[in-house]
């Protein structure tokens, strides 16, 4: 970080947004009859990373404000804390933020899709996973720095 504040904040959600975008592209390909093995390596990696991310976010919905503001703060891992704050920010800025049950469902849907290496995955599962990814990406887009305007 520079000695003095910069006018442009760091885009801390850029990485997750790109992973989610790649996952959406991958899921769209699967919807159209492609198999997991037909996807590019970075698309498969994106599905794996996002599975873990949804599981983490789902776990972090169980954290209470009491836990992070009291003596129990040390019991919350840094990753879960970050997940908690990501969801809190999305909640503050979205009219229709992604819910705990959607996060849980998305994690298990992506997990199920990745087990179907040899077959075309169930289309309703793919649709549901894709919709959850789109909702997450919409939430993240609102948190990213604004494009500078004159």
């Amino acid at each position: 970080m520079p000695i003095m504040p910069l006018k442009r904040p760091f885009d801390r959600y850029a990485s997750l947004a790109w992973t989610t975008s790649l996952a959406i592209l991958a899921l769209e390909k699967l919807r159209r009859g492609k198999r997991l093995g037909d996807l590019r390596e970075e698309e498969r990696e994106a599905l794996q990373k996002l599975t873990a991310e949804f599981e983490l976010l789902s776990e972090s919905t169980k954290i209470t404000v009491d836990q992070i503001s009291g003596e129990e703060m040390g019991t919350v891992t840094p990753q879960l804390l970050e997940g908690f704050f990501t969801l809190a920010e999305i909640e503050e800025t979205s009219a229709n933020p992604i819910t705990a049950s959607q996060l849980r469902q998305a994690g298990s849907d992506l997990e199920a899709i990745q087990h179907e290496e040899a077959r075309v995955p169930d289309s309703s599962v793919v649709d549901r996973a894709r919709d959850a990814c789109l909702k997450l990406l919409t939430g993240l887009d609102r948190l990213r720095p604004e494009v500078v305007t004159p």
Partner: protein
């Protein structure tokens, strides 16, 4: 859903960014280091182009449904804004006013300190700021590691090769003494392996502050939640303007306008408070820790350079503590850990006024201030991991000899009384000694008068800077020569 015209504008943006980055990449540069960054940025643009093209192709000849295309469009637009921003940090690194000679020395000392393959470039910042950005770390944090590793030249390790972009205030392009601030910037690179320990200190300090301000905090949260559940928009506007750091946050105002029960509003207020507190404290700790690293490396010379850059006081900000708090924090650390140095009149005169810092009055910033104050001891213990060249036994003798050279317009790199001291340590010792000389009013004025600069003290200071620059370069050359001798070559 972005209409066809918006999509066309996005395609145009992708194209123009590629053309411009290629144009600058293909220009002749005094050094090849920015090439890595240009190649990596081009790869990012190309990957975003590929994503948009693939999505459009999947649905062709129809348009993709809006609920699919809009978030992807918005995300790519923001990615391109990131590319444009980071490109702007490296697209003008060849100005004739840039002191290129400092680059090799900075790269060399960064390599030794960080054990990485650092290649440095300089750009002149139109704003009054001093930055060292490790592009490898930036790319990692943005999720652009793949593009970075493909841009690295063959034979280099993508995990340890970085391009350090040094941003230097344009108005002070000739001030070599300002490079004491490099110690703070390199401090940010030190933080990574120590962050878990720093977090523990943060949690402990935060708990203590909560206990200390328990009742006031409760009142604050209740008051804020009362306001966010208010129905009258004008009352809401007026009241929100009282609350830092949310008063500029349009998002927060928007969220606050949603009708809430008092219970919901209180919980939302607590969550929002914890979110902002965590963000601010994390950011402030990074700055303060880096300030302590600088204090370890160049002692109070860091504060002298800091004062040059940050004239006067600043307000607390989400990313940086107020300047007065930083000065006092570092002064308190130096008085604890380098008390002998701080007994010197030159440093006392510089640092004593910092004791008069008045903490912010706004409750939120006061809490942040207190968390940091409570953390000094914990952070001081952690920063011991950074070796300090100022702990050498004959520091006074070294400084005295260095200044004798300066007084006679001789580059002080030839001073031997601090041997054997690691070459990287001499780098920082020279900066420390040069600033000490500069701030010693009697000695500096005598020096200026002796060489005809009595009416132009800026020229006298520039002369010190040039001697320092020459010495730093000389140190680096001697180091590389001695390494070759050790390896058996000449």
């Amino acid at each position: 859903m972005p209409p066809p015209w918006q999509l066309s504008c996005l395609q145009s943006r992708l194209r123009s960014l590629k053309i411009e980055i290629n144009r600058v990449k293909n220009k002749e540069h005094p050094y090849p280091e920015p090439e890595i960054v240009f190649k990596a940025l081009l790869a990012v643009v190309e990957s975003r182009q590929a994503l948009i093209d693939e999505i459009l192709d999947l649905f062709a000849p129809d348009a993709p449904p809006p609920e699919l295309l809009q978030p992807l469009f918005d995300s790519v637009v923001k990615d391109l804004a990131d590319v444009a921003y980071y490109f702007s940090l490296v697209d003008r690194v060849d100005s004739a006013r840039i002191p290129f000679e400092i680059l090799r020395s900075l790269s060399w000392v960064s390599n030794l300190l960080l054990h990485e393959d650092c290649r440095s470039v300089v750009r002149l910042d139109p704003h009054y700021n001093y930055t060292i950005s490790s592009f490898r770390h930036i790319f990692e944090r943005l999720g652009w590691e793949r593009e970075w590793s493909h841009a690295i030249p063959t034979g280099c390790n993508p995990k340890t090769t970085t391009v350090l972009v040094l941003g230097f205030p344009s108005a002070d392009a000739s001030s070599i003494l300002m490079h004491a601030l490099a110690a703070h910037e390199l401090g940010h690179e030190f933080i990574r392996p120590l962050w878990t320990r720093i977090e523990a200190v943060r949690e402990d300090a935060t708990s203590r502050v909560r206990r200390k301000h328990q009742d006031a905090l409760q009142e604050y949260l209740v008051e804020r939640s009362r306001i966010t559940s208010a129905k009258d928009p004008s009352e809401l506007d007026e009241a929100l303007n009282q609350f830092e750091p949310w008063k500029d946050s349009a998002k927060d105002v928007e969220a606050a306008r949603r009708p809430q029960s008092h219970g919901d509003a209180y919980e939302a207020s607590r969550k929002s408070f914890e979110l902002n507190l965590a963000k601010v404290i994390n950011n402030w700790f990074k700055e303060l820790f880096s300030d302590l690293v600088a204090a370890r490396l160049v002692g109070p010379a860091f504060l002298a350079a800091f004062d040059r850059l940050v004239v006067g006081e600043t307000q607390p900000y989400k990313t940086h503590p107020p300047a007065g708090m930083r000065r006092k924090f570092v002064r308190d650390y130096l008085c604890r850990e380098m008390s002998l140095i701080m007994q010197d009149d030159v440093w006392k005169e510089l640092c004593n006024p910092y004791e008069n810092y008045a903490p912010p009055r706004d409750f939120f910033w006061k809490i942040c201030n207190d968390v940091c104050s409570f953390s000094l001891q914990g952070l001081a213990e952690i920063v011991e991991a950074v070796p300090s060249p100022l702990k050498i036994d004959n520091l006074k003798k070294y400084v005295s000899e260095t200044q004798m050279y300066i007084e006679n317009l001789a580059p002080p790199s030839a001073v031997h009384s601090a041997d054997p001291v690691a070459p990287a340590d001499k780098f920082w010792l020279l900066i420390f000694s040069s600033w000490h000389f500069r701030l010693n009013q009697r000695r500096f004025v005598t020096f200026a008068e002796r060489f005809g600069w009595a009416d132009n003290l800026a020229a006298a200071e520039e002369a010190i800077g040039n001697l320092l620059l020459h010495s730093l370069r000389s140190l680096e050359l001697k180091y590389h020569w001695s390494q070759k001798v050790l390896e058996g070559g000449h």
